[in-house]
Amino acid sequence: MSERKSLPVVADAPADPSRRAFMRTAAAGAAVAALSSCGVEMEDFLRGHFKEFSPDELRHVLAKVERKNLERFGKKTTVSATGPRPGVEFGYGLDLSRCVGCRRCVYACVAENNPSRQSPQIQWIRVMEMDKEHGVDLAHANHYYEADAVPRPGKFYMPVQCQQCRNPPCVKACPTQATWKEKDGIVVIDYDWCIGCRCCMSACPYGARHFNWATPTLPADELNPHQHYLGNRPRPKGVVEKCTFCIQRTREGRYPACVEVCPVGARKFGNLLDPESEIRRVMETKRVFVFKEELATHPQFYYFYAT
């Protein structure tokens, strides 16, 4: 049988250095050709991982994002990369006995985090309407409910967003390490490293990840100029995004946008390592559960009943 190599085969022994150098140049050349046709700059493609940036590189990259924002939206923005604080581990509490399902949180999140508005419409929070009779049961959940007034009789509401798992299946599934968990618990995505394979989306048991199937539609006048590199900076087409606990706000000490807008005060946020924080108070005195506990994702997002 004659030897036919229809697929590229990796040689057992390392190829001789000169050949490798040639291959690299050739590959880079091909890449340049391929990339320039889809609008990606070589520099972005070849740069190191976010976690390995030197302060200089980071500054350069942030300035570049700001420049691109200006080109794309004609608006000045500030893009930070504020890191996690030592001694802080974020915890989020959502009071199911209070939520009335008004969806104010959904739209406050949209206004804050610069997702695509229409085609695709991306919303990081999904409020599910469920039957009191059945309890928390996805078989009786509907997030497309419409009503003149909420809460509707016999119903309760369960908003779902990224649960910032301590054991995040999405991170394990990502082939390029474009998504990872930070020290304060926020699971972040570097949109420049995301290749859009959507492995993380299929791995996430909470439907928390959303894909930019087309270039996001985001009117310039709705752009939130206060941005974080790993959070609400505008996304390109073909990348995945999700809730980051409003990283651009919470890393600066502020409450997330959904906490501040909720008209019934159902949403609680704070530092799990601070014994005096509101979230610790919830953990210590209320009936608390995590969603899909049996999957051992160990969320940092807790549902509770205050009454």
């Binding site: 969806r103 007034a149 008209p263």
Partner: protein, 238 residues
């Protein structure tokens, strides 16, 4: 000053349970008088040991005190305050239908079989409220009145679990009052609306329930119309 919510909570509960806090506590510095004795009380002694046994948190910058700011309460109905404008003397104290205040009587739903106006309003001085102990409290501290029956909610509220706070999770916060969300005469939560008082944003309870924001689009509603030869590398790309 360092605020100790848990210890204050206990004080509050004790105060509510005894329904007769010692007069000294009723003064401005009374920690039970506001969620964390925040804005005015500067001299109340911090308790070293919070009620739940958690150690007082001292950081490098010294004891950490999240400053709490009270949201503006919703305004009184137009032209109704001060009540002493009409109520000059104690008048008839028997429980009855009034010939005035029908807007309140119409909606009154606050254990209405058992209670009426003078259970909370002071008969001698209509410009203040009255606790079960007979102690009077100003309208600005109405949460103390609420707390004497709703002790569990009061306790949660003081810890930031019931009700809402905005601002910094690790610093200055604004807390909302009972009356920002609950109409005292028909306190079951229905809805709230945003209002402005003295140029500051706050909320007021409404008698209507909230209308939900629009539902998300279904996937089939999101498809872009197929434009002939639509550019895929629009300026919006990378």
């Amino acid at each position: 000053m360092r605020l100790d919510t848990h210890a204050l909570t206990i004080l509050a509960i004790v105060a509510a349970a005894l329904a007769s806090p010692p007069p000294a506590h009723a003064a401005g510095g009374n920690p039970a008088a506001s969620p964390a004795g925040p804005t005015k009380s500067t001299k109340s002694e911090p308790s070293p040991e919070p009620a739940n046994g958690a150690k007082a948190r001292e950081t490098a910058e010294g004891p950490r005190t999240p400053p709490l700011i009270q949201a503006e309460p919703p305004p009184f109905s137009e032209g109704i305050f001060p009540c002493s404008g009409c109520h000059v003397d104690p008048g008839d104290r028997t429980r009855r239908e009034l010939t005035f205040h029908e807007d309140i009587q119409k909606v009154f739903d606050h254990d209405s079989n058992a209670r009426w106006c003078l259970d909370c309003h002071d008969a001698q001085n209509r410009d203040v409220l009255k606790l079960a102990s007979g102690e009077t409290v100003p309208f600005t501290e109405s949460y103390r009145l609420c707390g004497q029956c709703h002790g569990d909610k009061y306790r949660d509220w003081r810890a930031g679990v019931h009700g809402k706070r905005v601002g910094q999770w690790d610093g200055q916060k604004t807390y909302f009052l009972c009356v920002n969300c609950h109409n005292p005469h028909t306190p079951g939560f229905k809805g709230v609306k945003e209002i402005e008082v003295d140029g500051k944003k706050t909320t007021a309870p409404t008698l209507e329930m909230l209308r939900p924001e629009p539902r998300p689009l279904r996937p089939e509603e999101m498809r872009r119309p197929v434009a002939p030869k639509a550019s895929t590398t629009a300026a919006g790309g990378r």
